[in-house]
């Protein structure tokens, strides 16, 4: 692999690839047959028709380097075997394609003729670009904020505490019970609840909604004011070291507060990163369960811990399936079960579940302003899906998706409300017993 034409950073990027060359990576790097049938699975290709956005070309961003530096045939006959040097032109295309033209949504893998795990390869390509110091600035600064301040929006702890205390007062008034609360930094609780920092910053009502549900379910829970961030943008930037650091903080907080279950807010990539990728970054399984609040809500409904009146949500509701929660997270039926109990008129988008289209906001796109126009154009497919349902409300169990859907709502004039699942459930909650209600 030694090549005197490479810079130190380029050598480090190739070494990062070399270190990850296990069976899974080798298999997927060697499997693409360039059949070209994958284009229509990708929202970027569908909108632009640009062959650079073909998932097969995304595979080649890294496979051509693998062939050039790690296979004898690629070294001997690079032109014949589609091997390519890690040079400035290749790097420029790589940045544009794997950061600017892919949300790592995985829809192409589900439909790939062979079964190539394309987001896995794109994530590995991003790791190489991270070694080259070429992560787009907005995305890297989001990771830096999380590492340096403890949350990706750099919210000071005092501000967070103020917000939560204010929400607690509101909750007490709403449920007319002074014992209702948002327990902060309490030890020995069953659940440690984490948040997407967008919630305290921009969408505090989604915290209120979840607090109301916990209150109704008589749950033993707490929020840490030191370490509460569900997100892990290092998953998107490709930095395993930062991803590990952020995961370690959460596991450390679980141990410090002696909580039983780590419950993750409605955040698609956060769920994927913590629930599924985190143990691999740490090198060991968690000693505690990790669940999405959607699973918790479904459990409360099924066990009768909360009662819902769907008549309180009369408008037609459709559901957006966040890719990282659904296709890469496996939380698929729970949200449907919740909505069937919480709203009167639920209608599916087409396609849905593991075949859903990405809204365009995944892969860290919302933090990369330079690709904003592309993100909104690629999101047109989701906008059309929403319009076809005739729904007035879109339930979106992911705060990144919510941000993107709100922008699509404005740009494509959809005239819908975008809400979290918890907000819909909280609106449908029946807090008093039937006897009291009837009196």
């Amino acid at each position: 692999m030694a090549d005197k034409t490479l810079t130190l950073k380029q050598s480090r990027a190739l070494e990062a690839l070399n270190l990850r060359l296990g069976g899974r990576l080798r298999t997927h790097l060697n499997s693409c047959v360039h059949c070209g049938l994958c284009g229509e699975s990708c929202h970027y290709y569908l909108r632009y028709g640009d062959p650079r956005f073909l998932p097969g070309n995304k595979v080649d961003q890294i496979a051509r380097l693998y062939r050039r530096y790690f296979t004898p045939q690629g070294r001997l006959l690079p032109g014949w075997f589609g091997a390519g040097d890690l040079n400035d032109a290749a790097i420029e295309e790589m940045v544009d394609v794997v950061f600017g033209g892919c949300t790592m949504c995985g829809r192409c893998s589900i439909h790939c003729s062979i079964g190539v795990d394309i987001p896995f390869l794109v994530r590995t390509a991003r790791t190489m670009l991270h070694e080259l110091g070429l992560v787009p600035e907005g995305l890297q600064s989001t990771v830096n904020a999380a590492i340096e301040s403890g949350n990706n929006m750099a919210i000071p702890r005092d501000e967070m505490v103020d917000t939560l205390q204010w929400l607690e007062q509101d909750l007490r008034m709403e449920v007319d019970d002074d014992s209702a609360g948002i327990p902060l930094d309490a030890t020995g609780k069953h659940i440690l609840y984490t948040l997407n920092p967008r919630e305290p910053k921009f969408f505090p009502l989604s915290i209120s909604a979840m607090a109301k549900i916990f209150y109704a379910a008589k749950e033993s829970w707490t929020i840490s004011t030191n370490c509460y961030d569900t997100t892990n943008y290092a998953y998107f930037s490709g930095s395993d070291a930062s991803a590990r650091e952020l995961t370690q903080r959460l596991t450390g907080e679980m141990q410090k507060l002696k909580a039983g279950v780590l419950a993750l807010a409605e955040c698609g990539h956060g769920f994927r990163a913590i629930r599924w990728e985190g143990p691999d970054w740490l090198g060991e399984a968690y000693p505690f369960p990790v669940v999405s609040v959607i699973e918790l809500m479904a459990g409360y409904i099924r066990s009768g811990r909360i009662r819902l009146d769907p008549g309180r949500n009369e408008k037609r509701v459709t559901l957006h399936d966040p890719c990282n929660l659904v296709r890469a997270g496996g939380v698929i039926e729970e949200q449907r079960f919740v909505l069937e109990h919480a709203v009167r008129n639920f209608v599916e988008m087409t396609p849905n579940r593991e075949n859903n289209f990405c809204c365009g906001g995944g892969g860290g796109q919302l933090s990369m302003g330079e690709y904003r126009d592309r993100r909104v154009e690629a999101g047109r497919i989701k906008a059309d899906q929403i319009r076809e349902t005739g729904a007035k409300i879109v339930a979106a169990p992911c705060h990144n998706c919510i941000d993107q859907l709100m922008e699509l709502n404005q740009v494509y004039e959809l005239g819908v409300e975008i809400r979290t699942l918890a907000e819909l459930v909280a609106d449908a909650l029946v807090l008093k017993s039937p006897a009291v209600e009837g009196s």
Partner: protein, 213 residues
């Protein structure tokens, strides 16, 4: 045994060694699916990945490109049948004329599929963008293999040419795009592990939801 026989045997030995090496590097080791606690039925998911998920009604790449999909299937049937006939011809196995005639039809369809897919690769701009010389050569090599097998079946001659051609094909499999023949099943297994542990597959019977108390 003639020279072409020995050539074919030698090339097959190289293919076997090469395949064994590539598989040993790619085979799933313990923990290949990740360290997170599984929530799905992994064996069923792997089976689903290998069979059900490949069906055209499950795959957009198939049902949105049904002609290309059908051509691909006929090409691959043609290739597999050619390999089967290579073994039969090598060992001088005599088969009924009806079976030979039926095989000839299937091989002709396979060759037709291969040629049309090659034309598609040459004439579609997005395919040209993706394709490397290796892709074109691999298509030609496999389609040529089917055609040569067909010619041997029809004429009864050209056996030495078939053995030499097949030997070259064997040598090329591990190095070129044809190595997907070695990696295909592994890719499906890895994908089955990934989606199975997360309970995304099998899509028609997700364990965590089905078995929840």
């Amino acid at each position: 045994m003639t020279g072409p026989h020995w050539f074919l045997i030698a090339c097959f030995a190289v293919l076997a060694v090469g395949t064994r090496y590539l598989i040993s590097q790619a085979f799933p080791r313990e923990g290949a699916g990740g360290l997170a606690e599984s929530r799905g039925d992994v064996p069923r998911a792997v089976l689903y990945s290998l069979i059900s998920a490949m069906m055209p009604w499950k795959k957009e790449t198939a049902n949105r490109h049904i002609v290309s999909y059908a051509l691909g299937i006929t090409l691959h049937i043609g290739i597999f049948l050619s390999f089967l006939w290579l073994v039969l011809i090598f060992f001088n196995v005599e088969l009924p004329q009806a079976l030979i005639a039926l095989s000839a039809i299937v091989l002709a369809l396979g060759a037709f599929g291969g040629l049309l897919l090659l034309i598609r690769r040459l004439t579609t701009s997005q395919m040209r963008y993706l394709s490397t010389p290796d892709d074109y050569f691999s298509s030609l090599l496999t389609t040529g293999f089917i055609i040569l097998t067909l010619m041997v079946l029809r004429s009864g001659g050209l056996k030495a040419a078939l053995f030499i051609y097949a030997g070259i094909l064997f040598l090329y499999i591990p190095v070129g795009k044809l190595r997907h023949a070695i990696y295909f099943a592994l890719a499906r297994v890895y994908l089955g592990l990934f989606y199975g542990r997360r309970d995304v597959w099998p899509a028609d019977g997700r364990k965590s939801w089905r078995t929840r108390p």
